[in-house]
């Protein structure tokens, strides 16, 4: 029967989530060298080492057998919690599993995929599995489950009205909404947000910090506009711009809204 209706009787539900995750990109497999570097980092910024979960990325290492157990012990001694390993050959994968760690496939450089994807998930906020991350940042990147079918590696096109309570996300590229975004709805993108309709809800572009992106909409009534964390509420928007076609961009850390003609 339905997963969603009989919620009261269930012990848990599976949900997709994007969590910020520190990736430790190893360039040496020598536990001693790792220990030295960690010790010096710990003295510089002790606040960082608070049982922080880390993913050990071993893609840059070219060693079939890794002293994974010792590396993990060194990390734990410095209050880092290894939770998973990314990349590496099969023996590395096996030893990660043996140590109770997860294993992620290596980052792919680029995957050719069809350009358009439409995922008409209704109440997206509650059951949206996010596609895998391929963002190039090395220090902090989201760890994500597998992509649902119909989602491209890059951008995303959503056709239809995004309704109150719904959330539509493009965690890697641009988001194009062919329709309106209603009040109480939220659209988010790592890249730019394009709304070919009225934007009445919240629009957040550059959610991973990219300041070069923008928000473009046919009819501005947004509750909130944000580019790379710089935001404006509806109250802060010049009333003369309401209802017009605009672009929203960041210049000198100021969110600028200009008419698009």
């Amino acid at each position: 029967m339905s997963l969603n209706v009989d919620r009261d009787s269930m012990a848990f539900t599976f949900k997709g989530g994007m969590l910020p995750m520190t990736v430790m990109e190893l360039t040496s497999a020598d536990p001693e060298r790792i220990r030295e570097q960690l010790a010096s980092k710990l003295s510089q910024s002790p606040a960082f080492f608070q049982h922080t979960p880390v993913v050990l990325n071993v893609e840059k290492l070219d060693e079939p057998h890794l002293a994974l157990e010792r590396i993990c012990a060194v990390c734990r001694a410095h209050k880092l919690l290894p939770v998973a390993v990314r990349g590496g050959p099969d023996p590395v994968k096996q030893s990660a599993w043996a140590l109770g760690l997860g294993w992620f496939p290596p980052q792919e450089v680029s995957r050719p995929r069809p350009l358009e994807s439409v995922v008409a998930d209704g109440d997206a906020a509650e059951h949206e599995p996010a596609p895998p991350s391929e963002s190039p940042e090395s220090t902090s990147e989201p760890v994500l489950p597998d992509a649902p079918p119909g989602t491209t590696a890059g951008g995303r096109i959503y056709r239809g009205t995004v309704r109150s309570g719904q959330q539509v996300t493009a965690p890697e590229g641009d988001l194009v909404v062919v329709g309106a975004v209603n009040a109480g709805a939220e659209v988010l993108a790592a890249g730019s947000v394009h709304v070919y309709g009225a934007l009445r809800g919240r629009a957040l572009a550059g959610i991973h910090g990219d300041a070069q992106v923008g928000i473009f909409c046919r009819e501005l009534h947004a509750e909130l506009l944000s580019v790379a964390g710089n935001y404006k509420r509806l109250e802060d928007i010049d009333p003369r711009l309401l209802g017009t076609t605009v672009q929203v961009r960041l210049s000198d850390d100021q969110l600028g809204i200009t008419p698009l003609s």
Binding site: G122, D123, T161, R163, Q166, A198, R200
Partner: protein, 272 residues
Amino acid sequence: MAKIIVVTSGKGGVGKTTSAAAIATGLALRGKKTVVIDFDVGLRNLDLIMGCERRVVYDLVNVIQGEAGLNQALIRDKRVDNLHILPASQTRDKDALTLEGVEKVLETLNQDFDFIICDSPAGIERGAQLAMYFADAAIVVTNPEVSSVRDSDRILGLLASKTRRAERGEDPIEEHLLITRYNPGRVDLGDMLNLEDIREILAIDLLGLIPESEAVLRASNQGVPVTHDDDSDAGQAYADTVARLLGEEVPLRFHEYQKKSLLSRMFGGTRR
């Protein structure tokens, strides 16, 4: 095969039960075998609006829990032959309903009726989700007011994701907009949202527009669905709504403010 229609809104007090009763009555008057089910367990109202509160013995919860047969719980309407009412329980709460139980009741009714109207409780929780889960079509009742429009928008999102049709990837549920308590005079004054604004925001097809009318309150308190009052504007508007639901093309009425002429003001007018 019956068509299962849920009457829903998210927000309370917008006229779901009144509309469910009026539309069910209208369908029955048009010769369709219709049953209207009250899903508002614990806040039973449909029996009052239908004027059958004195004849309730068993209810939906009794049927689901196997304490009574469906035929024992169904109440035949006194005014229209083809109409039956399945009341809700007043002494239980919404946890008494199960998905399997509701499915079984609907499957049984499916064989004997043309239309099954599910009167949803307010809110977006379990009760409302059970009422909509098996529906083929939804009538979203909205008042010309911002909070009602927003709640309807939320319900439309749920209809697109939390129904059996959505979960099975079947044809999406038909979505119809029913605007109630519309007062063209107050719309012109800017006190109420106008029809076009509501349609633009919700972006679904308009099934009907029911003017704000004294006839509705009178009908509720007398326990006679307003569709029977065919002299009244609201009664006629519900009849139009039912005709559109049956696929007929009916022009929209009652959406423009009519200034009363001198004569009608002198003699009291005929619009009620």
